[in-house]
Symmetry: C2
């Protein structure tokens, strides 16, 4: 830990004292609490904030921003701490703004297929609230406790993005507190608008570096009439990738389309006591009518068999679907618990569909060539896949091998006209790739950051 | 015309002379040419540029921007001149940059369902090029000669947006020349990315005020397996709106959903020699399989009949569909030719679906109460509708009535949490509404504009 954080600078101490008067028990400086709010899910070292504050309203957030802005003290937005690139670390100290008490579902509007929520509402809680309406919010980043504010900030997506889009596609507006303390609602609720610059999409994915999101309005969808899930093993990972891209190219009503490679299947077999064929495996889900799902499944089966697949198993009842998808749900946990003592570096590249098979094949060969442990799980319908590198944090030579692998992986994705991060964001962990991916675009991002947050109070050391 | 434009300032004259050396015949200063490049489609007065230049490459555009930027001379991007809010006017003079010679389809990638084009490619040309691939580009703003660069700049949408989204949803990246002369490609081609700020969506809809778009990559879609079109008349306009919103709420596979009100139907009956029942009428199109289209049509028929509809006519063959949709295609032309000597002010509000019926009903009553001629056509599946106000440009008292109507219409849309412009953009014509809709958000837009275009060379007098 940086000594500067044990003895906070006078400016930070002043702001903490001022906020303590305003927030009382809703501001804490104890180390345990601060440690809970520094990144702990990744290989990145924890960097603790000097204090944590719990606002309960947009007005509270304005008060926090005004105090912090006056003395140029960093503010780090904290949702549930489920981000994977060190987004909630506090490299320059400052104050973590924890949105967990801003957890009201403000309004559900079934007729408009949208709802407005405070930033701290979790996706699980929202969907529980929606259960009786016949509607659901589809974006599913895997972390059930992820907050909608945090998901908007990182531009999250997940297993259903292939059908329903990412946060960029599903946020209609955000209410954001700017460095000036001004409150801006980025748009109204019309389904489309050409009115001025798209501030909504500028804030979505800005990772807390341009302002603090306090409320947002998101799209909802009708629960599908019928759902069929299927699991099918392939002779080769390239064949699994080709079957995936064909399903998208043919326009099947795919709502989820996930790949687990052989090491990943082996890990879930052991950890979740399953008996899956140890081969590259696709997990797919079709949403639609009974007729369309049935037809899509048969088309998919034929395509899969042409790519050397066997033993396709399908289910449409909820229990059966849950059984089939269990391996996918347990994937990350199975990997983490299979190699105790090792830490996970979850990579996140995405490439155009036509390059998916080649990008995955090259990555598998790279993993083997360097003796890495790195099971692969992928949202392959979007061309996005994660190699989960399990490394020994105490082995400095392995750390270098992992870093070099990550570099090659990102270079490969960029060579295939892809991206360093499909859904996890830049945070701290991927900053060195931003320039390689965006070139002069980084100047534009930096100009925008400088113009909207001239003192650099919002999440310093992230993205830019 | 402003005398300052007849005798261009020394700065403009210098830049024109410099560009003349570089571009020769591809730079023109004749009044007829300049007049073709000033706005002529709307009630706004034409404001001519001092010259027109035709780049043939991104490098040409860089050269133009560098010269103009050095002397702070305005540059006005010109696609096909089909925008409706004075976007191509030159209130401060300057140089129109006509992209019509940047009209190459650079690459079509059927496996990735995308293609890259130069900014001057028209949507009609692109779809003609795509015909043999089984793919199409769906965004259809009505103007066949609209260029993809212009459509991206205005964040265009249209009849198919209810199914396929607007330009904001369909542009994967743009290549843009900034005020500094730097060339930025805003993203790679992965279907999703969380890498840095969303510069693509910042440029889409920026109306040529932040940079000049020279190339773009857009999503393509498979031609639907089956299409059914239907036309159905309603007893009331509110009933037609309610049937529309129900179709969306139920998740029918609606690909187009358009409303024409009674005056609009009367106009097309006369001008296109049709014999439609003169009543509020919905034009709908379903895309999907034969089964899903048939089922959707029957669901829609039942919903429509419950709202007092009658005489639903449907067709699935191309000729039959074209016949059914003729009234919709001819709508704007029919209105314009029905009142010769009058000019059209095409309004463009959009509201959340639950408020559509009320917003349209109030607007119809408002039109009647003020004796205006204003047939309505709407992309009602998106909650977007256009009252086409036909006014006498020589009648100053009517101009005031029209202006007051437009004010009330926008206020009504905002009261219903909607937008002043669903798809036409702000341009010159709607600048006075920007603050009302966005409040402090306009400060953010102005800050971004100032940061990225400090000399204000890009399309001055628009948006901000």
């Amino acid at each position: 830990m940086n000594a500067g954080h044990i003895q906070p600078s006078e400016r930070v101490a002043t702001v903490i004292a001022e906020l303590k008067e305003l927030f009382g028990e809703r501001l804490a400086v104890g180390e345990a609490i601060r440690r809970q709010h520094a990144n702990s899910l990744t290989f990145l070292d924890a960097q603790l904030p000097d204090a944590v504050v719990w606002p309960e309203s947009t007005a509270d957030v304005v008060a926090i921003v005004r105090q912090a802005s006056a003395l140029a003290v960093p503010l780090i937005a904290f949702g549930a701490g489920t981000s994977l690139e060190g987004h909630v670390n506090a490299p320059d100290g400052g104050i973590a703004v924890d949105f967990s008490r801003m957890n009201r579902v403000l309004q559900v509007r079934p007729d408009d297929l949208d709802c407005s929520v405070e930033a701290g509402v979790t996706r699980q809680r929202l969907n529980a609230d929606l259960r009786d309406t016949g509607l659901f919010f589809p974006v599913d980043p895997g972390a059930d406790h992820a907050t909608l504010g945090g998901m908007a900030a990182t531009g999250a997506s997940g297993t259903t993005t292939v059908r329903y889009g990412s946060m960029r596609d599903n946020v209609l507006n955000v209410t954001v507190v700017l460095a000036s303390g001004e409150v801006v609602k980025t748009a109204q609720r019309a389904r489309k608008s050409s009115s001025g610059y798209d501030l909504t999409r500028l804030m979505v994915g800005s990772e807390g570096t341009l302002g603090l999101i306090t409320e947002l309005t998101v799209k909802l969808y009708g629960t599908p009439e019928h759902v069929i899930a299927a699991v099918v093993a392939f002779a080769s990972i390239a064949g699994a990738c080709r079957a995936s891209t064909q399903a998208i190219q043919l326009g099947l009503n795919v709502a989820r389309l996930e790949l687990l490679d052989t090491p990943q299947i082996r890990a879930v077999n052991i950890r979740s006591k399953l008996a899956l064929l140890e081969a590259p495996t696709l997990f797919v889900e079709f949403h639609g009518s009974l007729e369309s799902c049935t037809k899509d499944l048969e088309t998919f089966r034929a395509m899969a068999e042409a790519e050397g697949a066997q033993n396709l198993r399908a289910a449409s009842d909820e229990d059966g679907r849950r059984q089939l998808w269990k391996a996918r749900h347990d994937a990350l946990w199975a990997v983490k618990s299979s190699w105790p003592g090792r830490e996970a570096l979850v990579t996140d590249v995405a490439v155009p569909l036509s390059h998916l098979a080649a990008a995955v094949e090259e990555t598998v060969a790279d993993i083997a060539a360097h003796g890495l442990i790195a099971p692969i799980v992928g949202h392959v319908g979007d061309g996005n896949f994660h190699a989960i590198v399990m490394f020994d944090p105490h082995d400095t030579s392995e750390a270098k091998t992992v870093e070099a692998f990550l570099d090659r992986l990102v270079e490969r994705a960029l060579r295939f006209e892809g991206t360093a991060t499909g859904e996890h964001g830049i945070g701290q962990g991927k900053r060195r790739f931003l320039l390689r991916e965006h070139g002069a675009g980084v100047d534009v991002m930096r100009t925008i950051k400088q113009a909207l947050d001239p003192k650099g109070i919002f999440n310093p050391g992230k993205v830019i």
